[in-house]
């Protein structure tokens, strides 16, 4: 049973436009959420995170939004650049519960076209 779901396996956007990657979760105990970016032949790289006490966190071109009532989070990339083309993984954990365990989604492959 997948606790973290990324329902779009792929997304294609034009350079300069907004990319929106979505993630849903089922475990209400999750209280810390992360996005990772993965290029081919490399390991995932931490991108941005958000705690459940917030509904938005911004870092440069990247913004993560959290809707706890809907158990939904999204990553916005504005403006999108060709170098953003990668697989993006959503992950969640029970940080307050002292868990070290991250639960990952299957990823969304983003392609940014020049």
């Amino acid at each position: 049973d997948q606790q973290v779901k990324q329902n779009s396996p792929s997304l294609s956007v034009q350079e300069g436009r907004i990319s929106i990657l979505n993630c849903d979760y089922t475990n209400s105990m999750f209280d810390y959420f992360l996005w990772y970016k993965k290029y081919p032949a490399e390991g995932p790289t931490f991108l941005i995170s958000i705690s459940s006490i917030k509904d938005k966190n911004e870092d440069g071109r990247f913004t993560v939004f959290l809707n706890k009532s809907a158990k939904h989070l999204s990553l916005h990339i504005v403006p999108s650049q060709p170098g953003d083309s990668a697989v993006y993984f959503c992950a969640a954990t029970e940080a307050q519960g002292g868990s070290e365990k991250l639960v990952f989604g299957k990823g969304t492959k983003l392609t940014v076209n020049p």
Binding site: V4, E42, G43, F46, A95, S99, F104, G105
Partner: protein, 112 residues
Amino acid sequence: DAMVIQNPRYQVTQFGKPVTLSCSQTLNHNVMYWYQQKSSQAPKLLFHYYDKDFNNEADTPDNFQSRRPNTSFCFLDIRSPGLGDAAMYLCATSRSRGQPQHFGDGTRLSIL
């Protein structure tokens, strides 16, 4: 640069022949993790160490073992690899609970 290093990047072994994958870190992080990732799937946690405290996931096959001889190194031992164990194996570290994990580039394991 501080980092997580996995060796080898590619490993080929025979069905049933034991294999060891290694991971080292220069971040001095307390927690080290091993994940298995199959094609188009989410990384799946196999086990992790919090310092020397070993934590096995309930659904990790007995075939998979791990050792952490010191803070810097962690090994994944697969005692009798089956064809279903072919995957990317990712090592990660984190400073402590609830902190972002830092990943190595992975070892792709093939079983002949």
